[in-house]
């Protein structure tokens, strides 16, 4: 028995050393923190208003919880305005990739009051840390229709026709890009967003409730909870939130991308029928010259 305990101790030490040595993130199964997101699926149907999303779980007494929501990477072309004398003109096109389409971070207190800067950067817990993964090209001449086409179809960020920006330009783009995303509600850090409940069996339940961003596109979003203590992240666990268009909007979206010419013809026919139909209805209701029928 003593021998068994000795080997168990040595094995645990090695496992610990390997974990620290490889620097791998401390990811726990969702059930470890009891993370649950409600609803798990957001259906964007014909009648859709942005719902409230709730994330809940539990952490050890004395720990702090940080909740992040991240979307898939963007592939965007931006217009850059500059001043020429008294007027503002568009003087460049910027191609941005490698940064999440949505980044929301919720915590009970300012992050720097319970986490050190290295941890914030390593786990990308604020907008600045997230923006470091951004890749951008200026003087981009890529045509709009090439955007979003995966690399195996012949287009990728690496094949962007633009040039790498200078460090000043990159810092400027990063700063303004974050402002743009904050303004549209897809980026944000909310201090005080995590609420804690009463302690039970050495654990404290927490929950976050927030309105889903209006401009968040249909995609698979990762909701991650970080348990923090002693200025570092102890462990984290993630669950997925699926946002998808369904019904008529899904059909329209699919048709617009799969059969664009047919979709265009249908759009013109539908618009013309609407126009002539309303004209006919008005002629029947109000008479041919606008006089109301007696």
């Amino acid at each position: 028995m003593k021998v068994f305990k000795k080997y168990l101790l040595i094995g645990s030490c090695w496992a610990g050393l390997i974990t620290v040595g490889t620097g791998c993130q401390l990811v726990a199964a969702p059930e470890a923190l009891g993370v649950r997101v409600t609803p798990e699926f957001i259906a964007m149907g014909s009648i859709y208003s942005t719902p409230y999303v709730q994330v809940q779980g539990n952490i050890a007494i004395g720990s702090k919880a940080v909740v992040t929501v991240t979307g898939p990477e963007v592939d965007e072309i931006l217009q850059w305005k500059g001043r020429l004398g008294p007027v503002w003109i568009s003087f460049d096109r910027v191609h941005v990739t490698g940064i999440p389409s949505v980044f929301l971070c919720f915590s009970g207190a300012p992050l720097d009051t319970f986490l050190n800067a290295e941890a914030i950067e390593e786990y990308q817990l604020n907008e600045y840390a997230v923006s470091k993964s951004m890749k951008c090209m200026v003087r981009c001449q890529c045509r709009e229709r090439h955007i979003g086409i995966p690399a195996h179809y012949g287009f990728s960020e690496a094949r962007c026709s633009g040039v790498r920006p200078t460090s000043e330009q990159e810092a400027f783009i990063r700063k303004n890009y974050l402002r743009l995303k904050e303004a549209e509600g897809t980026y944000g850090v909310l201090t005080g967003g995590v609420e804690l409940g009463g302690a039970q069996e050495g654990r404290v339940p927490f929950f976050v409730r927030f309105p889903w961003p209006r401009k968040a596109p249909p995609a698979k979003y990762q909701v991650t909870v970080y348990e923090c203590r002693d200025w570092k992240v102890l462990r984290s666990s993630s669950v997925w939130l699926n946002v998808s268009s369904v019904g008529f909007p899904a059909t329209v979206e699919q048709m617009a991308s799969a059969y664009p010419s047919l979709y265009g013809v249908l759009a013109v026919i539908a618009a013309a029928i609407t126009g002539f139909g309303i004209d006919l209805a008005c002629a029947c209701l109000f008479g041919k010259n606008g006089a109301i029928k007696s």
Partner: protein
């Protein structure tokens, strides 16, 4: 229950990727359609910024706006046709000229873009054109309204002599004018070039050109321009859908319901208004567009970056 009712008023726009209150979209459509039926303008210059303001991406706003113009112009043109305000012969020539001009404009813009600050030069040029047209129309209609009687528009004698010597002279019975086929074709071609360069329908320029250069009565000019606009906007919608894939059918149809209704009201109000009032309204609208363009290039933007296209 109240919340549920409120939620029912929101629709998801699949291509734009946002949800919007549909009553707001129909309301915007009614306002733009009213102006379209009243003054013969497509309203794209007004609609695109409004849609952008309520959260629609610019490319989707412009493309879906052109689809909405199909509905507004078909409704307005049909109402004007019934009222006897459409000259199909003149409309067909204008359409050919407009399409030729638009195709030329698309090629010109490629070269202008290579020159660098082309956008700035084009915007300035457009502001000057709008300023001259709206200023002339404004003062002429105010003078006529003060005098109490409107004078029919007439071409300057020297210009009229030149026009009468051109070949292929045709009488347009609906408009009551005689011109060479080349005149409306060329003038509409020039407007088509400008419209393609500026990315607008060109209705706000075409109606004054028909009234002042071709002496077409104002009511007839409005109806005929709507007739031409129906085909041009249909072409633009097809191109936008097949090339850029930015036409949002749900958005376009909601706007179309509003704008087609608004166009009917506008067309009926046109019939009851004196042509000088119509000219004055059109002058104010064109002046407003010019002021908006000046503001857009001189006021500091809230962010120097704006999204052109997103996956």
């Amino acid at each position: 229950m109240q919340v549920e009712c409120g939620r029912l008023m929101w629709v998801f726009l699949p291509v734009a990727g946002v949800s919007i209150n549909f009553l707001l979209l129909i309301g915007v459509g009614v306002c733009v359609g009213f102006l379209s039926g009243l003054l013969g303008v497509g309203g794209g210059f007004l609609l695109t910024p409004i849609l952008m303001m309520i959260g629609i991406p610019p490319t989707v706003a412009a493309a879906s706006g052109s689809c909405q113009i199909v509905a507004a112009s078909s409704s307005g043109a049909a109402a004007h046709f019934r009222l006897g305000n459409v000259d199909p012969k003149l409309g067909a020539i204008l359409l050919l000229g407009g399409l030729t001009g638009a195709a030329t404009g698309v090629q010109i813009i490629k070269y202008l873009r290579l020159m660098g600050n082309a956008d700035f030069i084009i915007t300035l040029f457009y502001i000057v054109v709008l300023g001259i047209l709206s200023g002339y129309m404004f003062f002429e209609s105010v003078r006529n309204l003060r005098a109490g009687a409107s004078r029919p528009a007439s071409v300057a004698p020297r210009f009229a002599r030149v026009l009468s010597r051109l070949p292929l002279q045709v009488y347009f019975p609906h408009s009551g004018v005689r011109h060479s086929v080349l005149t409306p074709f060329f003038l509409c071609g020039v407007v088509g070039v400008l419209a393609a360069i500026m990315g607008v329908g060109g209705g706000s320029i075409m109606v004054p050109v028909l009234v002042y250069a071709l002496c077409v009565p104002v009511h007839m000019a409005i109806g005929t321009e709507l007739f031409q606009l129906l085909f041009t906007s249909a072409g633009v919608t097809l191109m936008q859908a097949s090339t850029n894939r930015t036409v949002d059918l749900v958005l376009a149809l909601l706007l179309a319901v509003g704008s087609a209704t608004g166009a009917q009201i506008g067309a009926r109000v046109t019939r009851r208004l004196r042509s000088d009032y119509l000219k004055l309204l059109l002058a104010c609208l064109v002046l407003g567009t010019m002021v908006r363009m000046i503001v857009s290039i001189t006021v500091s933007p809230s962010n120097l970056l704006s999204v052109v296209k997103v996956r």
